[in-house]
Symmetry: C2
Subunit: 367 residues, 2 copies
């Protein structure tokens, strides 16, 4: 486990969490710029393990909500993030003692680091998804019975909104239209937890996991190609170990529709020298991949499109015709694949007809 | 001034505030049922004048937000109203010591009475409109510099939302879509005030004014017809004194569109025995009336359609083809017709091209 997020490892963290973002969570490049600035100004951010949390700690989430296609044009600021958290602190009458990521994917893994730096608070090595998901209720916090509300969102004009709802799904339903009215990209805080709750409901060690993945991709002293290093790092990881490259090719068709605050669509990849094709569906995040009609991975297991040369993940909003890519799949943290979890993050929660089949079975021939 | 709202005067209050509602604010009949029940259960509600408020008092609003056409089917409860106020109290860390009406029109004059009864708090003799208006920012509180936010809304499923916004217009913009998502009819609290602020920004004596108007309409010991008694009562009032019946006839055309949480439209009234016609435009409330193309009254002055026999106001959502009606107009409280006020509640705020001309000039020939 790393002891702090510093100027030296923030780049690895961005690269690794971009992979775990499975196409969503927003491009971490912009978030990493925010982190660099915050760390330069306020110093490195101490990382604490879930086990180090005291019972009475107050663990608050710093996060972004909106459409990633918008987030790359409408940038976040730490001040807006603070307004979201401060509104929640004021309502609850207690102050944050640690910050945690809601999702260890893309921008949503970066903002909590920048915000922790500004507040002088430690960040927890863990998150609520072990990857990225498009909706508020799709977290281990929710699966483990932590209430999503009160939830707050804040825009860049000084406005903030607090939701007290009976369910996470209702918070999602009432917050999404306001996020859209605020410009489809807002700062958020939700699932305020005590230390006891956070220890129970967090997917641990995903922050250090993301850094390890980023390090492997970037490790130029290893002579193997980046894609091989990535798969090797995944196979050595506690959660992501059932991993494989299921397809390589170029993007030949792309449908992307930004509506209701989400980006929905599909992507077709054709083999470089044969008739094979792979097809992906996404709702902010990649949901499934089929190769020549054969299912190779379905949510909550992870599907990420990476650049075939650099093995850097390509977020949904940066996909483009003609890109040379590889599709990498890997297993989700076990907490996401229980029967109870599949009711919250399984294929049917995304309107998919496919049943969940563990990726380890779907890629047996490739391991 | 009345000293309390009781079982005996609640009916007069409902009838009078229905007139001041100028077609909007929701049908007070349903609200008066809620009041009767609350007064029977908790006792009469003490009425205090604005001058009796102490500097450090906390004056909270109880109100409804939504489309009146929906409100007659989706009823309010005191419990939902309490959730809206309690969320605000919790956020501000102070408790209400008095309740006030945001608008002395229709349902929004009733709910505060029922809620005051439940809380055992006095209600202030005054409100923020001296009539009814369709939008949150259209209040004397706003005109006098009281912030609309923090604002809360609550639905009947246990959900509440709190807004901290930089302007009342922004609160309106962000709350309206959530109110629509909650079913176009929600309970609300906003413009939390100290006693100092409430004394400065309230339109005083409108609660007792509404009761006096209702008494006059209902006073069967006065041999004059109800319509005559109504106009006479208005002419005797401090604010509403420039009053007249500008048209009598039957409704021959009606356009009404419930969208974006409002009911928008127009109403054509034809003379009983001649070619004359009157036309009204409304956005929840009646905005203007022309008779044979001649402007007779425009917002913020009051235009109300009443039953020609009973002189009871007919709210927008109860207008129907063939009804025999009279159009009564009267002057607005002076606080609403200053240059500063017209920027908030003048014709252009409703998208009207007409300039504001005081009703006293428009009906000179009728007084």
């Amino acid at each position: 486990m790393v002891s702090a997020i510093t100027i030296d490892n923030i780049e690895h963290f961005a690269i690794g969490s971009s992979f775990l973002g499975t196409g969503g969570g927003g491009d971490p490049y912009l978030g990493s710029l925010l982190c660099r600035e915050a760390i330069a100004k306020y110093g490195p951010v101490p990382v604490i393990s879930v086990d180090e949390l005291k019972d009475e700690d107050n663990v608050f989430i710093a996060a972004a909500m909106g459409a990633p296609t918008v987030m790359i044009e409408k940038l976040f600021s730490i001040e807006d993030q603070h307004r979201a958290v401060a509104t929640l602190e004021r309502f609850l009458g207690r102050e944050a003692s640690a910050i945690i990521s809601a999702e260890i994917g893309g921008c949503n893994s970066m903002m909590p680091v920048a915000y922790s730096a500004m507040r002088g608070l430690p960040i927890v090595d863990g998150d609520g998804m072990g990857r990225a998901f498009p909706a508020l209720q799709m977290t281990s916090f929710n699966i483990e019975g932590v209430a999503c509300a009160p939830l707050t969102i804040a825009d860049e004009h000084g406005n903030s909104v607090l939701y007290q709802t009976t369910t996470g799904l209702k918070a999602e339903e009432l917050a999404r239209p306001v996020a859209a009215a605020m410009g489809a990209s807002v700062c958020m805080s939700c699932y305020p937890m005590t230390g006891v709750e956070a220890r129970r409901a967090t997917i641990p060690k995903t922050l250090s996991g993301a850094i390890a993945i980023g390090e492997a991709i970037s490790n130029s002293s290893d002579p193997r190609p980046p894609l091989t290093r990535l798969v090797s790092a995944l196979r050595g990881h506690e959660y992501y170990k059932d991993a494989a490259v299921v397809f390589e090719g170029k993007i030949t068709a792309l449908e992307r529709d930004t509506s209701n605050g989400w980006v929905l669509g599909s992507c077709l990849i054709s083999g470089m020298s044969g008739p094979e094709t792979a097809e992906l569906k996404f709702q902010n995040e990649n949901l499934l991949v089929t190769v020549d009609g054969r299912l190779r991975c379905v949510v909550p297991d992870l599907v990420t499109i990476v650049d075939v040369e650099t093995a850097h993940a390509i977020p949904t909003e940066r996909l483009a015709y003609g890109q040379r890519v590889a599709v990498v799949v890997c297993s989700a943290p076990p907490l996401l694949t229980t029967a109870r979890a599949l009711d919250v993050v399984g294929p049917k929660c995304f309107g998919l007809e496919e049943q969940y089949i563990p990726v380890t079975e779907l890629i047996k021939d490739l391991i």
